[in-house]
Symmetry: C2
Subunit: 223 residues, 2 copies
């Protein structure tokens, strides 16, 4: 018996935006544009991973990026330097994007000529899990310094994504992080989950990630 009480504070803040998300998905399918929703904690390396991805794929497909943040445009500025189309979305205090916001961003970006759009969601492991953005696929990044207990604390996020990148594996020796345990915890929540350990810093694992993306973009756009 545990020596402390657990109190459940039941209240849902998630509104249903499933209809708009399904509509957006259908439109993106018609336009042959693959939309990837990329989620993580603040500071897990989303933008560095996006930059690596652009570098690896920009010669073979037309890529666009939507950067979402509460404030600042540092991520969009970093992506803009690569020469690809990017829009910075400011959420005005909201901790996630919904399908209506994603659509606003896609309209502003102009997707007719794009094969692949990366939507970098607000840095957060909670709110984005409640809102379908209309993306074709959902991916998340967990970084080694965040700890291997994160699937236990944020199960909804790990349960919904198609792919998990475990980033900053170059720092595995420095932190107490059980890679096998985190994979097991994530798979228990999501048996179909694909997991790829990477280092956006050194480039390790990036080829496996871009292979997955290439295959998903191709399948989506030819349907």
């Amino acid at each position: 018996m545990d020596s402390f009480k657990v109190i459940e504070i039941k209240k849902r803040v998630f509104e249903d935006n499933d209809r708009q998300a399904a509509l957006l998905r259908t439109e993106m399918r018609k336009e042959q544009t693959f939309l990837l929703n990329l989620m993580s904690s603040p500071g897990s390396g989303k933008t560095t991973t996006v930059l690596r991805t652009i570098e690896a794929l920009k010669d073979e497909m037309e890529i666009g990026v939507l950067e979402a943040d509460i404030d600042s445009a540092v991520d969009a500025a970093a992506v803009a330097k690569t020469g690809i189309k990017v829009i910075q979305l400011h959420t005005g205090g909201m901790c996630h994007l919904n399908a209506v916001m994603a659509k606003q961003g896609l309209l502003a970006l102009g997707t007719a000529d794009l094969d692949f759009v990366i939507l970098e969601n607000v840095g957060n492991l909670v709110c984005p899990a409640g809102f379908d953005t209309g993306a074709a696929k959902n991916a998340m990044i967990l970084s080694v310094p965040e700890g291997d207990d994160k699937p236990l604390k944020y199960p909804a996020m790990f349960a919904l994504v198609d792919l998990l990148l475990i980033n900053k594996i170059d720092a595995l020796d420095y932190f107490s992080f059980d890679l096998a345990a985190v994979q097991q915890r994530a798979k228990k929540l999501n048996p179909q989950l694909k997991i790829i350990p990477i280092s956006a810093k050194t480039g390790e694992g990036i080829a496996e990630w871009t292979d997955w993306l290439r295959s998903e973009v191709t399948n989506w756009n030819k349907k």
Copy 2:
């Protein structure tokens, strides 16, 4: 001129719970219990810092802990091992605590005999910034692996806290993190902000942190 557009999606999700928070603060003042609201990203080291704090202060004051998470009780289990009173709060999908939830937790914990309660908020740099919990003081942790750009991206959080702990400074050599730049960025948002670099792992800086706490608890409880 920037080479990308910025779109403002204006919509506020924050409800006003200021009245309940002010009420709770008055009650805690009468009870001579100092409530600290501790916020950060997932994986910044909140619980390790809480454990260090308990170790340093438990012989000189009565401490209680409220652990808030979406799911799991791993943090409460870790704190319970120290022998102090702890409650695990499950928010049912909500990404922050408000004053009503904090009060529920404090009632369940029983604060009449406590000098100091640490409220470990949900791991999140966005939502908790919008909701006054009724705490006497607010503190946040930013950890080195998260990056020195966080004050630019999450200004509301940095602007509202009384104290910023910069954790995992033992890893400064490993990550590209400009300690002076992050201090300058945080101070620009919040000129009165007290900043203490720490390593919850090695114990560096913990004495300065517990000195601050000791002084705040004493001042609050004698008023």
